[in-house]
């Protein structure tokens, strides 16, 4: 958004400064307009070449095209120039069509691959998680139907630590252990726990997946336990280095909508677009030098921004909380613990992601599960396989903590109790679970 605003300001300043410059030479109005059009187009082109990464960012191309049309529109706005402008546009379109048909008639191997088959406008980056859930690709237990049928449905969302990397058996993961604990300790109550973790998933993918697919399965509680992937400097999900997940998500969402229009989609598959893109890419290489698509050197990775900055992470958590209020499910935030977990105080002081989660939970009254204290108390035990992936003992501990939290009315809070009561857990007349008022 900032880039867009900057570009808009840049363009407006150029427009007015250019007009003043051309008027100085007292050229005819038509000549001024022609010069202006050419000047702005070249400015936009240069700006585009210098500032955007066309190889991985089709939205920049869309943006560039919009600016180009805008510059053309401004020229055509002048009454005296309108008729010739329309003629010119028609000629231009005819020219484009003929060039396109000429390029299409050429054999495929004559043109570079980037021209003959340009990458599609919208990749399936946003749909990766959703497509897994759509096919009920949860690890371990899978929902029999979309309807909850009176059962309490809990979806555990997170990254690889929730999915259970590197465990071979899904029964060892904390959602599965939580399911076992619930079945053993609360017989007669219908409780379904699903492991909706995916390796590499970050908070943006969680946010997207909840609204796109998870809500179809009528969840009552969604636990969100992740931050480590978001703090990574490697774009392991969207594969676009240098841009945060939120940026990519927002721009790809626009492209997803644009790609629904067949004409636009056809244009972005055309060879003329491929050629234009190819020329821009070559221009960019001339200006900036070739850069590898994905940085591999440690130094390059260290220069990358995080997948989600703490501020962006906070924003995404807020969106999850708001979504919970709108769609009537209970989000439960869970601190994703680390190997040799520090005390809660130290963790909150050192780690901005933990702090963001705590602050959002307080602001939106979202239940927050403190896994840090119990994990810290067992700091001397072997609970992890590496920095962040728990071993079966770690998963077991996580499940115990979650069980104690979710089925304790004082911890889960009034909204949680209300949701649990709707499915027959914590009945009103129960003396076992008196609620504090």
């Amino acid at each position: 958004m900032t880039k867009f605003l900057l570009a808009a300001i840049f363009f407006i300043v150029l427009f007015f400064s250019g007009r003043v410059t051309f008027q100085k030479y007292a050229l005819s109005r038509r000549s001024i307009l022609c010069l202006e059009g050419a000047f702005y187009f070249s400015c936009v082109l240069t700006f585009g070449i210098l500032h955007f990464d066309f190889s991985s960012l089709p939205v920049s191309t869309v943006f560039l095209c919009l600016l180009t049309f805008l510059s053309g529109g401004l020229v055509a706005f002048e009454k005296s120039f309108r008729a010739p402008a329309f003629v010119g546009l028609a000629v231009f379109l005819a020219l484009i069509c003929s060039v396109e048909s000429f390029l299409t008639s050429l054999p495929k191997d004559v043109l570079p691959r980037e021209i003959s088959s340009p990458p599609s406008l919208y990749s399936d980056r946003l749909d990766r998680a959703a497509s897994v859930y759509r096919t009920k690709g949860f690890r371990g237990r899978k929902p029999e139907s979309e309807s909850a049928n009176g059962a309490l449905r809990i979806f555990a969302m997170g990254g690889s630590s929730t999915w259970g990397v590197p465990l071979v058996s899904p029964r060892e993961t904390y959602p599965a252990v939580l399911q076992t604990l619930a079945s053993e300790r609360r017989p007669g109550e219908k409780i379904e726990v699903y492991n909706a973790g995916l390796a590499g998933m970050g908070i943006m993918q969680v946010l997207d997946s909840i609204s796109e697919t998870i809500l179809r399965f009528n969840p009552h509680i969604i636990t969100v336990s992740l931050w480590y992937n978001d703090s990574s400097r490697q774009s392991i999900w969207y594969g676009i280095p240098g841009r945060s997940d939120r940026d990519v998500y927002l721009s790809e969402r626009v492209l997803k909508k644009i790609a629904r229009f067949p004409i636009l989609n056809r244009f972005f598959q055309s060879r003329i677009y491929g050629g234009l893109r190819y020329l821009l890419l070559q221009g960019k290489t001339v200006f900036q030098g070739a850069k590898p698509a994905v940085p591999t050197e440690r130094r390059e990775i260290a220069e990358n921004p995080r997948r989600m900055s703490p501020e962006e992470y906070r924003w995404a958590l807020e969106q999850v909380a708001i979504l919970g209020e709108k769609k009537n499910f209970l989000p439960v935030f869970v601190f994703e613990p680390l190997n040799r977990t520090s005390t809660r105080e130290d963790s909150l002081k050192e780690n901005e992601y933990y702090l963001a989660m705590k602050q959002v939970a307080e602001k939106y009254q979202v239940p927050l599960v403190d896994t840090l204290t119990p994990f810290h108390e067992r700091m001397g035990d072997w609970l992890f396989y590496d920095l962040v992936h728990p071993n079966p003992s770690g998963h077991r501990l996580m499940a115990e903590i979650l069980y104690d939290f979710l089925f304790s009315p004082e911890k889960i809070g009034p909204k949680g109790v209300k949701i649990l009561r709707e499915v027959g857990i914590f009945p009103e007349d129960s003396k076992e679970y008196p609620l504090r008022k």
């Binding site: 990397v165 590197p166 465990l167 071979v168 058996s169 680390l338 190997n339 040799r340 977990t341 520090s342 050192e350 067992r378 700091m379 001397g380 035990d381 072997w382 609970l383 992890f384 396989y385 590496d386 920095l387 992936h389 071993n391 079966p392 003992s393 077991r396």
Partner: protein, 256 residues
């Protein structure tokens, strides 16, 4: 008897004997002999080297013929090196008795400030388990934690159901992460004596430290074990036979 019947009975016979083998299987993952273990490490391709490196504690490769992990702890080993408990295969025999352990090690250099800043990443410690019963749900045993991690001092631990409690603190409690140490542990029937660089490290009266398996596990921070000898006895054919195991990949093959 028709040919089909013969094949059917042959199949049944095979099933019967293979079932018998399954029943007698080890609780540890089987050792699959691979040519990579017979070649010199420097002659291996980078992919083969990576494969070899996966079996072992952090930065110390163990020979899978001598050390194995629990079958129920089977994990995908792609890209990550799990911190797993490795068990000495010889100690799986119920007649195995450890007598003495000799080990030379050093931790990857790290300063205290770095440890305190990222305690999850820089945690220089490893644990030698003995008397371990890894039966699922009833895990128990003892662990000798050797640590240069100020947050978890060196100590003798009692392990029960994956939970450890300190039985006795070692002296000095925290080692430096810069020098090489020599650790000698003596197991007797009623006590455990450990010496570090020749000085007393731990001396604890302990009942039955000999019954059970020997294990080795390290944390995320690399530890380099350059020399390892585990002296023990095993009864074979009614005779007590002494044996010395190492299982360090380089030591087993005489490489440096």
């Amino acid at each position: 008897m028709s040919a089909y019947k013969r094949i059917f009975f042959l199949f049944l016979w095979c099933c019967f004997f293979s079932w018998g083998n399954v029943q007698a299987e080890s609780i540890l993952t089987p050792f699959v002999d691979s040519p990579v273990y017979s070649k010199k490490f420097s002659d291996l391709s980078s992919r083969e080297q990576a494969k070899v490196k996966l079996h072992g504690i952090r930065s110390t490769m163990l020979h899978p013929k001598f050390w194995g992990t629990l079958q129920r702890e089977k994990t995908y080993n792609v890209r990550i090196t799990p911190m797993k408990r490795y068990f000495l295969r010889a100690s799986e025999s119920p007649t195995y008795r450890p007598n003495r352990l000799h080990c030379q090690f050093r931790f990857a250099p790290v300063d205290r400030a770095k440890i305190l800043k990222s305690p999850h990443e820089f945690d220089p410690l490893f644990e030698i388990g003995f008397g371990v019963d890894p039966t699922s749900g009833k895990e128990k045993g003892y662990g000798l934690r050797v640590s240069a991690y100020p947050l978890l001092p060196s100590a003798l631990l009692k392990i029960e159901n994956s939970r450890s409690s300190v039985l006795a603190a070692a002296h000095p409690p925290s080692l430096g992460a810069y020098q090489t140490y020599t650790l000698d542990v003596e197991f007797s029937n009623s006590r455990l004596l450990a010496r570090l660089n020749g000085a007393d490290f731990l001396d604890v009266p302990l009942e039955g430290p000999k019954n059970g398996m020997i294990s080795l596990i390290s944390s995320w921070h690399p530890v380099y074990i350059s020399d390892l000898e585990i002296h023990g006895t095993v009864i074979e054919g009614g005779q007590e036979i002494s044996r010395v195991d190492s299982g360090l990949l380089f030591q087993e093959r005489g490489e440096k």
